[in-house]
């Protein structure tokens, strides 16, 4: 589904990703861990198509198609979704109106008619229930004044509405209390199928107790320096990153 080879990306002349490789197949869950500033958010932004990052070398293939030059909205239309580490506040447009626009623009790009209003309402209701989101919340301005946890839950609500093929969740667990973490993880698990895939970026093992990864990768200094199974996350939790850094520099 996603195949990244030798990816180099920089921002403002500064190289952040330095030859990164990863392959994600349908049905898989991958966790990416790594110290602050390693380039995890950069990787998700580059996959999602943020223009400020320049891809200087390497390739990003999605379902066999090179997407490195595509606009972010085209990538979304192909089924890539990114949950932001820091969701943006947009006063003046409600969550509901925003998600309606997103869904109908995606449908338009796929040559479909607008979703009938009644279907839309039904879907919103269903997904809001799944994530235990209050209806009142949906008429508020997008992310404006939302608490950290509310923002993250709202990201997953959008994911549930858009039903992407590949979801990249950038520190979705940070800011969530224990109950919210379970609700959000449960939401993600409900949406999982053999045809879609998830990349979970996290600093903590506890999320991985709920969303169980098939693979765990360590991203350090712009590269994936170690990959393993879910036991690697436990090892990292216990030992930190120093031993990995030493392995890399050795």
């Amino acid at each position: 589904m996603l195949k990244i080879e030798n990816l180099h990306a920089s921002i403002e002349e500064k190289e952040i990703l330095k030859g990164l490789n990863i392959e994600v197949k349908p049905g898989e869950v991958h966790a990416i861990m790594g110290p602050n500033g390693a380039g995890k958010s950069t990787l998700s932004s580059v996959i999602a198509g943020r223009e400020e990052y320049e891809v200087t070398e390497g390739s990003i293939e999605f379902n066999g198609e090179e997407i490195g030059e595509m606009e972010a909205d085209e990538r979304a239309h192909k089924g890539i979704f990114m949950s932001f580490q820091y969701p943006v506040e947009i006063p003046g447009i409600s969550v509901t109106n925003f998600i309606k626009t997103a869904i109908n623009e995606t449908r338009k790009a796929q040559g479909l008619e607008d979703m009938p209003a009644s279907d839309m309402l039904k879907k919103i209701k269903e997904k809001a229930e799944l994530l235990e989101i209050d209806r009142k919340f949906l008429s508020r301005s997008l992310n404006e004044g939302f608490s950290g946890g509310e923002k993250k839950r709202n990201e997953i609500f959008q994911m549930a509405m858009l039903e992407p093929k590949l979801a990249i969740l950038d520190e979705t667990d940070s800011g969530l209390d224990i109950d919210a973490l379970k609700i959000v993880a449960n939401g993600v698990n409900k949406l999982k199928s053999k045809d879609n895939a998830v990349i979970v970026i996290t600093h903590y093992q506890r999320l991985l107790d709920y969303i169980v990864p098939d693979f765990v990768h360590v991203l350090y200094d712009g590269k994936i320096v170690k990959s393993g199974t879910k036991e690697l996350a436990l090892e990292l939790e216990a030992k930190g990153y120093d031993w990995i850094k030493q392995e890399v520099t050795a």
Partner: protein, 435 residues
């Protein structure tokens, strides 16, 4: 003959009317004669030149009357609501299109109020009492005062429906100069909502120089909405003066979406304590349109508030001006005065000049002001695009959202929806949702 000379020579004819405003007109005329039209040399007119408008050969008094059917002009009303209507066509009251059949309060014509005995006292008390005497365009309007709307809401009366004031120009004249004059008196504890629109139906030039004086007594409430979405051949100079007594609320929302040159002079005078004044505006321009908001809030008593929020979106070669003056007298302690002017330039050929002027002489006050000029936030653009919203639609949606939150304080839902739609249309976006 230039416009000033023309005005001077026609003044004598007008003065044959021997009504309640005779003496006031004479004095105002002399003022105008001395001052002439404002030029860019004046600080207050630094960024707005009337030259391109004033060189037009305007007709001062329309010679023929035009008939309009409601169907012709329906789109210009907020027709979704039940409202009183006062309609002027080329400056002349049109009874067929109007509905001023009020009960318990009065909506009538200025020509009537200025001429009959019944209104003598109210005219003497209010007429031209807060309009600036030393301002040339206001003086010009005063000198030619003839017609307009007179609204009087007596004590404790709540006007049951909004009042829509519509001024149409039909283009029977090559170019028409209109000077409506309005007076609104809202007595103690009374309430009224007014929607105003000046609309040209022709490509012939029109220039409107309007003066509206409004008096809001103790505990009274006034909401005034101006919809400015005129033709590229129509210019408007709006001079609005509001006097408020203690515990009253007055709000003016100005929606400036089009016209050649629009100048909004909006002046608030607070004359009591615990007064709330609201000034809001959304300006969306393109082409070579020009809008200049010139506001004044005069805080001279303690414990009052003012809330000012103007948003501007400027495309192509359009230009905007915001000049907001807040004066806080030394006795006006505990004043809360807020002013915000945020702008987005969609093209680098568009211009905005924004200038807050705070003159604060009291020490125990909360005053804040801020102005921003920017492009759309890149982070927000990316966020929208990752949700599948293409560049053009994302831009539209963000500009829409930027303007939209000024609408929260509009208290007539149908009007809010209407303006909402106008904003979407102006920005050329299909929002994919209602409202």
């Amino acid at each position: 003959m230039d416009l000033k000379d023309k005005l001077v020579s026609s003044f004598a004819t007008l003065q044959e009317q021997n009504d309640a405003a005779h003496q006031i007109r004479q004095e105002a005329f002399e003022q105008f004669e001395t001052l002439g039209f404002p030029t860019k040399k004046l600080e207050a007119w630094k960024y707005t030149s009337l030259n391109s408008v004033l060189k037009t050969d305007f007709n001062l008094f329309p010679t023929s009357a035009t008939t309009l059917s409601f169907e012709d002009v329906k789109p210009y009303f907020v027709h979704e609501i039940d409202a009183y209507k006062v309609v002027f066509v080329d400056g002349v009251f049109n009874a067929e299109l109007s509905n001023i059949d009020t009960e318990g309060f009065e909506v009538t014509l200025m020509s009537k109020a200025l001429n009959d005995a019944e209104h003598k006292a109210v005219i003497e008390k209010y007429f031209n009492s807060i309009a600036k005497k030393d301002e040339s365009l206001t003086s010009l309007n005063t000198a030619f005062t003839k017609e307009g709307t007179f609204i009087h809401i007596p004590k404790s009366k709540v006007a049951d429906k909004p009042i829509q004031l519509l001024h149409f120009a039909t283009g029977t004249e090559n170019a028409l100069f209109l000077q409506p004059r309005n007076l609104v008196v809202v007595e103690e504890n009374a309430q009224v909502q007014i929607i105003e629109r000046h609309q040209s139906l022709t490509d012939n030039a029109t220039l409107t120089n309007a003066v509206t004086e409004m008096f809001v007594a103790k505990h009274a409430n006034l909401d005034y909405y101006k919809i400015q979405n005129d033709k590229l051949t129509a210019s408007l100079i709006d001079n609005t003066y509001i006097s408020q007594e203690g515990q009253s609320n007055a709000s003016v929302h100005t929606f400036s979406f089009g016209g050649k040159i629009t100048r909004n002079n909006l002046n608030y005078y607070q004359k009591g304590e615990y007064i709330d004044s609201t000034l809001k505006g959304i300006t969306i321009l393109e082409g070579k349109q020009h809008v200049d908001h010139y506001t004044l809030v005069d805080h001279v008593e303690p414990n009052c508030e003012s809330h000012q929020n103007y948003k501007g979106i400027f495309a192509e070669k359009s230009t905007g001006v915001f000049n907001g003056k807040i004066y806080v007298d030394k006795i006006a302690q505990k004043t809360n005065a807020f002013q915000q002017n945020n702008n987005i330039l969609l093209d680098d050929t568009a211009t905005i000049n924004t200038k807050p002027q705070l003159e604060i002489f009291a020490d125990d006050v909360k005053c804040s002001h801020g102005c921003t000029i920017g492009q759309l936030d890149a982070e927000a653009m990316f966020y929208l695009k990752t949700r599948g919203i293409p560049e053009k639609e994302a831009k539209g949606l963000l500009t829409y959202a930027f303007a939209n939150n000024v609408l929260e304080s509009v208290r007539i839902p149908e009007l809010q929806a209407r303006v909402n739609k106008l904003i979407a249309e102006k920005l050329g976006v299909n929002l994919g949702f209602d409202q």
